[in-house]
């Protein structure tokens, strides 16, 4: 078992944002979490990655308890994520964005950095090479010295995923990867996600609004509403689950 969340509950003040969330994730799976706005989907990601500390429950990643760990420790264990609204380091170059994500792979001490001695130069070279290789895989090496704020939107999204991959994750959490992408590009995005999954041997959890994307690539779905899990199963089952239709579609009248 790669990730196991057991009865995870989180309160903001008196408001219950996530209640009794359970998830068993096997290596190599691609699971989707869907639900209407404010259902607590992103909160689940924040709980897994340590941005918030779960009020109750336990989250175990390869048998290591995550609750109580700091976000950077959790990332170093092998969990990376992207953000709903892109959060790149805007004033920094594409290369720096990727190198920063390799922070804990760098093996030299502050003193070596201050005087540029010891392992400094070989380590800098190693990380730079790794970063450039990664950028090449993502076909972004030609933008290496560009400020990331100057990239077009699509490339910013791609850079965010590349940056997440630089932390060398086993588990990738994608928070609405299709946000802001026009419907014609959905198919491309689906292929892209499948591709990184194979390329990097990843397990993926995906939060999404775009039903076409979720139904197209997820093997398993969980549906949240007001913090509670109201359904889970295969995409086809979810599609016909009356509870989901009521909670999710009934109000919004969206298409499935």
């Amino acid at each position: 078992m790669l990730l196991q969340a057991k009865s995870v509950t989180h309160y903001f003040g008196g408001l219950c944002a996530v209640s009794d969330f359970n998830l068993d994730l096997e290596e190599g799976e691609l699971v989707g979490i869907i639900g209407p706005n404010g259902a607590g989907k992103t909160t689940v990601f924040n709980l897994i990655t340590g941005v918030y500390r779960a009020t109750q429950g336990s989250i175990r990643f390869r048998d290591v308890e995550l609750v109580g760990k700091r976000p950077n420790e959790i990332t170093a264990l092998g969990i990376a994520r992207t953000f709903q609204n892109i959060r790149l380091f805007k004033e920094l170059t594409v290369l720096d964005n990727v190198r920063i994500a390799a922070y804990n792979q760098m093996q030299y001490s502050p003193v070596e950095a201050l005087f540029q001695i010891g392992r400094y130069s070989s380590e800098e070279k190693r990380i730079l090479n790794n970063a450039m290789e990664l950028l090449e895989v993502f076909k972004m090496d030609s933008y290496a010295d560009e400020l990331s704020k100057n990239l077009p939107y699509g490339l910013q999204r791609r850079l965010e995923i590349a940056r997440a991959m630089a932390t060398r994750p086993k588990l990738l959490l994608l928070d609405e990867p299709a946000a802001g992408i026009n419907p014609n590009e959905i198919k491309q995005l689906m292929e892209f996600i499948q591709w990184i999954r194979q390329q990097f041997d990843l397990t993926i959890i995906l939060i999404e609004h775009q039903m076409r994307l979720v139904m197209g690539i997820c093997e398993r779905l969980k549906v949240l509403d007001f913090g509670a899990t109201i359904a889970e199963g295969l995409p086809l089952e979810i599609q016909n689950n009356p509870k989901v239709l009521e909670a999710y579609l009934g109000e919004e009248g969206g298409e499935l």
Binding site: F12, T42, V51
Partner: protein, 291 residues
């Protein structure tokens, strides 16, 4: 016991001055999320207005107070218009540094006009009463009551009037409110006018209580008032009042029972301890960061 009562009275007097200045910091912060570092110096200008009006025009207390409040209020609005408004879209810290510059400018201009400390004429009759061993002066009563009155008035304006509603709305979300037809610039100007004139009132009262004034008097008092605003929770108007009285109380009590040189040390250490337990002040609430 009598000593404590006497000191409490002094604490109330100092606290109300801090509170009045802290209000200006907190109002500007609430609406522009900017620390107006020039505010302490506007307080100083208020004291000098009082000195000028009282010395050269020989007006009584109330007109002097009103004139300096209006004068400094206009000055505050002008400063916002000329120096802060162009920087609203700039990095936040540029506005703060500009404010720092404006503060130094005010000090320097005053220094050129009055290079030496000036003594302010007394505008209120020196009447004191002794009740059960505690001495109360007319000045103390006026300072405390006037401050409380001004604070209640401000609280009323912010909570019950249209302008106040607009202020609260803008402090909540600066980008949406103008879309609803609220004249953003007018409301910001009103905020500055109110905040700085309260600072001027504090300056006038301070110069009556401690009649020797100099151009640098606003620096330390300004910082302390700012700290009061933080203690109460910056951006929160009632918090600023509470913070002012707390800081005034702590300072007077420390001076009363310990060597007075420990005053700053104890006050600031307490501030740090408070911030450890309530990082956003007494009434402040952290704005949740969306991830």
């Amino acid at each position: 016991m009598i000593y404590i009562l006497q000191q409490s009275l002094n604490a109330l007097q100092l606290g109300s001055i801090y509170a009045l200045i802290a209000l200006g910091y907190t109002m500007v912060y609430g609406i522009l999320t900017m620390i107006n570092f020039a505010h302490g110096d506007l307080f100083m200008v208020g004291a000098f207005f009082c000195f000028i009006v009282a010395t050269f025009f020989k007006l009584p207390f109330i007109p002097t107070l009103l004139i300096s409040m209006i004068g400094v209020g206009l000055l505050g609005v002008t400063i916002e218009r000329v120096a802060y408004r162009p920087l609203r879209q700039a990095p936040r810290v540029s506005a703060v540094i500009t404010a720092l510059g404006v503060g130094i400018l005010l000090e320097s201009v005053m220094l050129v006009i009055y290079p030496y400390p000036q003594s302010v004429p007394t505008l209120l009759p020196n009447i004191t009463w002794t009740i059960g061993g505690v001495t109360i002066s007319l000045l103390q009563i006026i300072i405390i009551l006037l401050s409380l009155g001004l604070m209640l008035l401000l609280d009323f304006i912010v909570r019950r009037t249209m302008v106040g509603m607009a202020m609260r709305a803008i402090s909540w979300d600066k980008s949406v409110v103008p879309l609803l037809g609220v004249p953003l610039n007018l409301v910001i100007s009103a905020t500055f006018a109110l905040g700085t004139s309260l600072g001027a009132a504090a300056g006038v009262m301070y110069s009556q209580a401690f009649p020797v004034i100099d151009p640098y008097m606003g620096v330390l008092i300004g910082w302390k008032a700012f700290i009061s605003a933080v203690v109460g929770g910056i951006g929160n108007i009632r918090g600023a009042m509470i913070g002012g009285f707390i800081l005034g109380g702590v300072e007077i009590m420390v001076a009363a029972f310990m060597p007075s040189t420990y005053r700053d040390f104890v006050a600031f250490t307490l501030l740090l301890i408070l911030l450890i337990f309530r990082p956003y002040g007494i009434l402040g609430q952290p704005r949740p960061q969306k991830v």
